[in-house]
Amino acid sequence: MDGPLNSFLLLSNFVLVPGMAYGSQLAIGALGVTLVYGILRFSNFAHGDTMAFGTMAVILVTWLLQSWGVSISPLPTALLALPFGIIATIALLLLTDRWVYRFFRREKAAPVVFLIASVGVMFVMNGLVRFIIGPNDQRFADGERFIIKAREFKRLTGMSEGVTFKTSQGLTILTAVIVVAALFWFLNRTRAGKSMRAYSDNEDLALLSGINPERVVMITWILAAALATIAGTLYGLDKSFKPFTYFQLLLPIFASAIVGGLGNPLGAIAGGFIIAFSEVTVTYAYKKFLAYNLPPDWAPESLMQLLSTDYKFAVSFVILVLVLLIRPTGIFKGKAT
């Protein structure tokens, strides 16, 4: 009788918990992309590398704090370093806006020119990150690694399947809830947030009502920097930090934002979880899960894996294509047509 329950625990361990954490990371990343798209009206190709830059800043401050012996164990020191990383990233994005994007805004350049400019920014940021911290893997997680270990879980419940819950996963989900709540409070309740939404909905009308566009753009970059740094740091804590991986995150993040509807914050969150869960469920090997639920002699011999993990990009891509074909504006109606 324990079969179905054990199989549920198995799925929680390998699909539900990792999917929730990864989904939260993607959602926060996609929120940054979608905000920039909503206000500045271009797909920011430099977002992955902005995440890498923010995470790098956090890592450097973490190392500094660690060398001073500062610690907030059981929580990772990186949390303490996070505000500093956010400030550094805000400074970088505001400088980029002033030196690169503002010129094109004044020229009223086409969105694709912004997109190409963001490719240039991507190159520079990518080079900057590799220049400062190098192209290799960096681990910076410290403190208590697990909230629940598989073995403890088994001992407590007496089940044969354990559930591991890593601190980084718990932190990610918790942070995501806080960040999303704060962001929606900001967008819906504050004057600055409302002016942002007004500007995103109808630029001309917003300008007529005396909203200062430069201020709106500045707030957008500040939010984007904060979201990128948080998403990057959480991903780094959960897995590890490598500049190239962050560049590759661009694809699932864009897929999340587009699937949910570009320019729609709620859609970005939904999209993040859709992409994350599809990736995890499609690349999970169901052999053990089926063995628990089927009579013993039916148990499959192969791994019962739909797609090898090397093809996880394909999952984001296929979902993206399906949504574009069936509902081009995304699940929640976005701006793009």
């Binding site: 271009f42 797909s43 190709f45 690169v100 010129f103 969105p111 694709v112 020119v113 997109l115 190409i116 400019a117 490719v119 240039g120 920014v121 991507m122 190159f123 520079v124 940021m125 990518n126 080079g127 900057l128 590799r130 220049f131 400062i132 190098g134 192209p135 190239f244 560049f247 590759q248 661009l250 694809l251 864009f254 897929a255 587009i258 570009l262 192969s302 739909l306 090898s308 090397d310 093809y311 990009f313 394909a314 984001s316 891509f317 993206l320 294509v321 574009l324 074909l325 081009p328 793009a336 047509t337």
Partner: protein, 436 residues
């Protein structure tokens, strides 16, 4: 072609060749020729992107994928077939291929005959899932058998054993086929979506080449591809070549290297000239004028009865095919196929920098951009190293910062590319040789 030449373009090209000659005199001629060969390939790739972006305004960031498809064509055409692997798993692969085609046909039939709605979705999903499991029942064992055949040396099906130059055509066709599929799906959507879709497909193509060991040997690489030009060792041993080197007063080893590189350069130049000539002809034809009309005002062109999506698909396929040809040429030059070497920054975005810097919409500009940017990409490293050396010369030899800066100098080239792109975009958005 000639009458379109302006002095600015001539001067810029002259300056480019002077820079290459400087490398020849200051560093070495084999190095200069190696740069020239890659410049030629880059120029062809950037012509392909220019066809898409400059003619039609299509934003394709999947250049890497098409180049990799060209590269795999090099393997599939030139490597002799591995008979043992074919005997072991050839039939299994054949059966799964037939099954895949069968599944697609059944899906199409079902989509036509079952009335739309949730039932149809369920039926289609069921057919696809059943098809996947059925295919994999034949496919997985076959792959295992193939990969077990001398894994250290082969472990894949091999190719056709034909001359590698043929792969340049095959690479183009392969890339064109994939471009047709992507174009069918993603064209007609706004440019951002095409960008993301192409970015995704290129990642998937490279992931497949890395993991489908039975086809490409994956990350074990295929090396020692046959060459279209003589081998250095053979040249060095032949009498006529030694005599020739002596008359010219060059060392035999150095001369053989120069000779081989010159052969490649000759072949590549022929391809470049053909592609350039065709591009120029098409750009100046009614078709080219129509493409630019569509690019500049889709609504107006559509009102004139032009089929926008159809034309876009056409130009997308053509441009991707050119990139595929260049990808096959690159594998030919390298003499090996290394899937792990396909990186988006190196194969996609740098090509974009070439097109923008050279002058989008102008074929000569694209060629010049290919030369200039590849040259900067190669020379940024030694220059960066030298710069760091000068900057840190006041520091102590064992200084940590100095060591770090010297080690990181290699990453200067990414920043250089970014700065070049941003500067050109801002101060000379039409590029070095602007469109007429």
């Amino acid at each position: 072609m000639i009458k379109n030449f302006d002095t600015r373009a001539v001067l810029l090209f002259a300056a480019m060749f002077a820079a290459l000659a400087t490398v020849g005199f200051a560093q070495s001629w084999p190095l200069a020729l190696a740069i020239v060969n890659l410049c030629l390939i880059s120029a062809i790739m950037s012509l392909g992107v220019n066809i898409q972006w400059g003619y039609a305004g299509l934003f394709n960031v999947g250049v890497m994928g098409f180049a990799a498809l060209g590269g795999v064509a090099g393997v599939l055409v030139s490597v002799p077939p591995v008979t043992e692997a074919w005997q072991a798993g050839g039939s299994g692969i054949g059966v799964s291929l037939m099954l895949a085609i069968g599944t697609i046909i059944v899906v199409i039939l079902a989509a036509r005959h079952v009335p739309p709605g949730n039932t149809r979705r369920l039926v289609l999903a069921a057919i696809i899932v059943a098809g996947i499991f059925l295919i994999r029942a034949f496919f997985d064992p076959a792959v295992e058998l193939i990969e077990a055949v001398e894994p250290a040396k082969t472990g894949y099906l091999g190719g056709l054993g034909l001359p590698i130059v043929l792969s340049w055509v095959v690479g183009g066709i392969l890339a064109a086929g994939v471009a047709w599929i992507i174009g069918k799906i993603a064209l007609g959507l706004r440019s951002d979506y095409l960008a993301i879709a192409t970015l995704g497909i290129s990642e998937i193509i490279v992931a497949m080449l890395k993991n489908e060991d039975w086809l490409t040997r994956g990350v074990k690489n295929v090396s020692g591809l046959p060459r279209p030009v003589p081998y250095e060792v053979n040249l060095q041993q032949s009498i006529w070549f030694q005599d020739w080197a002596e008359t010219l007063g060059v060392g035999v080893v150095e001369f053989s290297s120069i000779y081989v590189k010159l052969c490649y350069a000759g072949l590549f130049t022929i391809v470049l000239l053909i592609v350039l000539w065709l591009s120029q002809r098409s750009l100046n034809s009614p078709w080219g004028r129509m493409m630019r009309a569509i690019r500049d005002n889709e609504v107006a062109a559509s009102a004139m009865g032009k089929n926008i999506t159809g034309r876009h698909l056409q130009v997308f396929i053509l441009g991707s095919a050119v990139v595929g040809i260049a990808g096959a040429m690159l594998t030919t030059l390298d003499g090996q196929f290394t899937p792990a070497s396909y990186q988006p920054l190196r194969f996609t975005f740098i090509i974009w920098v070439m097109v923008i810097v050279g002058g989008s919409g102008n074929n000569w500009g694209a060629v010049l951009g290919g030369f200039v940017i590849w040259f900067c990409w190669i020379e940024a490293e030694p220059v960066g190293l030298w710069l760091m050396d000068v900057l840190t010369s006041g520091m102590d030899e064992g200084n940590g910062l100095r060591k770090h800066l010297l080690n990181s100098a290699a990453h200067m080239r990414l920043m250089t590319m970014g700065f070049i792109l941003l500067l050109v975009l801002r101060f000379s958005p039409r590029g070095l040789i602007p469109e007429k």
